[in-house]
Assembly symmetry: C2
Homo-oligomer: 394 residues x 2
C-alpha cells in the first residue's frame, strides 16, 4: 500500500511505547500528563449523568449540532466573560479535547511548507499535529518570561509569510512557565503588526497555586487574531474528551466546517453531563480542591529535586499547571538514559521531542499531578541517583 507523505511525520509509536511502558503498575511514572485519579468529582459526575439520562435520555444519546450543545456553550461563555474574554455562546465551538483544536487549526490554516512559529520548547503533540500538515516549524527563543520579543521580531521580519503562531502562555507544557504581562502585550502587538493569527492553548490556566493571575492573550485581543483553546481535561475530566475554541465569527465558521468534516460533533452525552455538572456544582470549588492537592505534590517534587539533582542541573518553579522541566548538564542524554530509568522502575518524558529542532538532549519533563507523595519521594530519589552516577562515571 502507498501511504501519504504526511503519515511518516505522524509516527507516534515511540511515545506510545514509552507511555505503555510507564503504565506498568511497578513503574513510578512522571512521564504522562494525567490528572490525579482523586482529582475527579466522580460522585457529582455520576449524579449528573444519572439526571441527564433520566430526564433527557433520548436527546443525550442522539446526534447534536456540530457547534456543540448550546446550554453548555452558554455556561462556558459566561465563565470566560468573568475571566475577561468578551464572548457569547455563538463564539464557541465544542471540540473533542484540545488536541483536536490543534488538528483543526492545521486543517484551517496550513499548506505544505507554511511556517508555524512556536515556543522552544513546546508541547510535543502540538508539533506532531502540525507536522501532519507538512508545515515548517520555526521555534522562537523563550526565557523565564515567555517568548523573547527580539527573537520573535527577527523571525517575523525574516518570515513575514508565516501562517500561524502556537503558544501556551500560562503554565506551559513542558516547562510550567507563565509569560509576564509585558511579554504577552509585546507578542500580541508584533503578531498584529504582521497579521499573524495566534493559537492560544490554555488547558492549565485555572490551576494556579501561587502568584497573581495574568490576563490571557485572548482577553487583550482587540484585533481579533487570537483563537483561544479551553479544555475540561485538567479541571474536570479528560475522559469526557471536551475542549472548546473561541474565535472571531468568520474564523469560527471555518473551524466549524473542519470539525463537521472531521467527526461531525463532540459527544452529546459528554457535553450534557458536563453541562449538568456545571449547573449543579461549583467547578471553581473543584479547581481549588485539585489545586491544593497539586500544589502539595509540586512542593514535594521541588524539594526532592533540590536535594537530589546533581550540580549544574536546574529545574523550573511553576506557579501552576501539571509539569516542571529539568535541565541537566549537557553531557547527560535523557533519552539514552530511559532504559536505565525503567530498569530502576522510574520514568520521565525525555525532553528532545519538545524541541521543534530535536536539538537539545539534556532536558526532561516531569509531571507532578498523577503520582502519590511516597512515589514522588522514591521516584525522584532514584532518578537523581542515576543522574549523579552517570556524571560521576564521566
Amino acid at each position: 500500500m502507498r501511504f501519504s507523505k504526511r503519515i511518516s511525520q505522524m509516527d507516534t509509536s515511540d511515545l506510545r511505547n514509552v507511555l505503555a511502558l510507564t503504565a506498568r503498575p511497578d513503574i513510578i511514572s512522571f512521564a504522562g500528563g494525567l490528572p490525579a485519579p482523586e482529582a475527579f468529582p466522580v460522585e457529582a459526575l455520576r449524579r449528573a449523568a444519572d439526571r441527564v439520562l433520566r430526564t433527557q435520555g433520548p436527546a443525550a444519546l442522539q446526534y447534536a449540532p456540530s457547534q456543540g450543545f448550546a446550554p453548555l456553550r452558554e455556561k462556558l461563555a459566561q465563565r470566560h466573560r468573568a475571566q475577561g474574554i468578551p464572548c457569547t455562546a455563538d463564539d464557541i465551538l465544542m471540540v473533542s479535547g484540545s488536541q483536536q483544536g490543534l488538528d483543526l487549526a492545521g486543517k484551517v490554516f496550513l499548506e505544505p511548507g507554511d511556517v508555524v512559529l512556536c515556543e522552544n520548547p513546546t508541547y510535543l503533540a502540538a508539533l506532531t499535529a502540525f507536522r501532519a500538515y507538512e508545515c515548517r516549524l520555526l521555534p522562537v527563543e523563550t526565557d523565564d518570561d515567555g517568548m523573547v520579543l527580539e527573537d520573535l521580531e527577527q523571525k517575523l521580519s525574516a518570515h513575514p509569510e508565516a501562517k500561524l503562531m502556537y503558544v501556551i502562555p500560562t503554565f506551559q507544557n513542558p516547562t510550567g512557565k507563565a509569560w509576564s504581562l509585558e511579554r504577552r502585550k509585546g507578542v500580541l502587538a508584533l503578531a498584529e503588526q504582521y497579521g499573524l493569527p495566534i493559537l492560544e492553548d490554555n488547558p492549565y490556566g485555572d490551576l494556579r497555586y501561587e502568584g497573581e493571575a495574568v490576563p490571557t492573550l485572548k482577553s487583550m485581543d482587540t484585533g481579533g487574531i487570537v483563537t483561544y483553546m479551553g479544555s475540561f481535561s485538567k479541571v474536570l475530566s479528560p475522559g469526557l474528551r471536551l475542549g472548546w475554541l473561541i474565535a472571531p465569527p468568520a474564523l469560527l465558521e471555518k473551524y466549524a466546517s473542519a470539525k463537521e468534516c472531521t467527526d461531525l460533533q463532540a459527544g452529546t452525552l459528554s457535553q450534557m453531563v458536563a453541562d449538568a455538572y456545571l449547573e449543579d456544582n461549583d467547578l471553581d470549588a473543584n479547581i481549588r480542591r485539585i489545586s491544593a492537592l497539586y500544589k502539595k505534590r509540586r512542593d514535594l517534587m521541588l524539594s526532592c529535586l533540590a536535594e537530589g539533582l546533581p550540580a549544574g542541573a536546574s529545574c523550573t518553579h511553576p506557579q501552576g499547571g501539571l509539569f516542571l522541566w529539568v535541565t541537566l548538564p549537557e553531557q547527560i542524554d535523557t533519552t539514552a538514559l530511559m532504559p536505565v530509568m525503567t530498569a530502576r522502575k522510574v520514568a520521565y518524558l525525555p525532553g528532545v521531542s519538545f524541541f521543534a529542532g530535536r536539538d537539545v538532549r539534556c532536558c526532561l519533563r516531569m509531571n507532578y499531578s498523577n503520582a502519590a507523595e511516597d512515589q514522588i519521594v522514591r521516584g525522584v530519589e532514584t532518578m537523581c541517583r542515576v543522574f549523579r552516577d552517570t556524571l560521576a562515571k564521566g
Copy 2:
C-alpha cells in the same frame, strides 16, 4: 487571514443550514439521518453509566489508550468473528464515530490529486471528508446490484495509480441498496488485482428488515486490502460518538498514529458505558426491536410514495438501513424546490450533493427512521403534491 486551500472544499454551511432549518419543530423532516428517539435503550444505558461511574469512576474519567478500551475491543472482535470477520481486539481501533474513520483514511492515504474511487451516488459527508485532502473523486457507475464491474475495470485500467476505493455495500447511503454477493466478489477481485485499498463503511448492515444477509467485503478479504468501519451510531447511540476500524496490523498502526495526532483517543466514559451495556444487555435484541420499528416506517413510506409519486418517478426498495432514494423526471430540480417544500413544512435532502460530479439534480434522499407514522403520511403526501404540481405546470 490566509486560510488553507483545502478549507474552501470543506464548506458545510449549506448542509448545516438545511439541517438547522429542518430541526424546526413545525417542519416534517426526512432530511437527516437520525435514529428514532425511541430507538435508544435509554434505561439500559443509564444503568450502564451508573455502574461504570460507581465501580470504575476514576478510570472512566481518565485518559485511556489511544487504540481504545481493551474490553470493548474484545467484545467487538467477538461479535465480528461471529459475523465472519476473523479478527482480535488488536485488529480494532476505536474512533469518534465513522465520520472520523473517513478523515483518518484521508490522512493515512491521500496526497493532493490522488484518485479516490467511489459509488455514484455516495455518502455526501464522505465526499467532503475526502475533498479535505484535495483528492480527485472518481465515481463508478452503480446499479441495483452494486458497482458495475465493467465500469470499475475501465476506471482502474485508466487510473492504475488510484489510491483508495470507498464503498458502502450494505444498505448504502443514500440509496439504501445492497450489493449482490457476485458484485462483492468481483469488486474485491479487481481491487486486489490493482492493489487498491478498500474502505468498507458498514454502519447499517445490522439493520436488515428482509432478505438474506450477504457477507461483508472484509469477511472475504484474504488479501488484507480492506479497512472495515463499524459504528454504534445506528444500532445503539450516535451521541456516544463511537465507531471502529478493523484493518491489517501495518495499516492499523498508521490509523492509530493518525488518531492519536488528531484527538488522542475516543471518549473513555463513552467506551466504558458501551462496554458495560454490551456486558449486561443483548445488543441483538435491541437491533431486532429497532428493525421492527424501522421496517414499519419503511413500508409506510414506500406505500405513500407508490400512491403519491408522479408518473415517471421511481424509488428504491431498501431491504434495510435508514434511507431510500427517489428519482424524479429530469425536469425536476430537487434543490431548487427546497424553499417551496420548507414553506409547506416538509423537507428531504436534495440529491445533487451525493454525486461526486454534482451533475444529477432530479434525485433526493429520504430518511424513514426518524419520523413518526402520521408525519410520514402527511409529509410524503405534501412532497408528492408539490412534485405533481411542478410537473403539471411544466
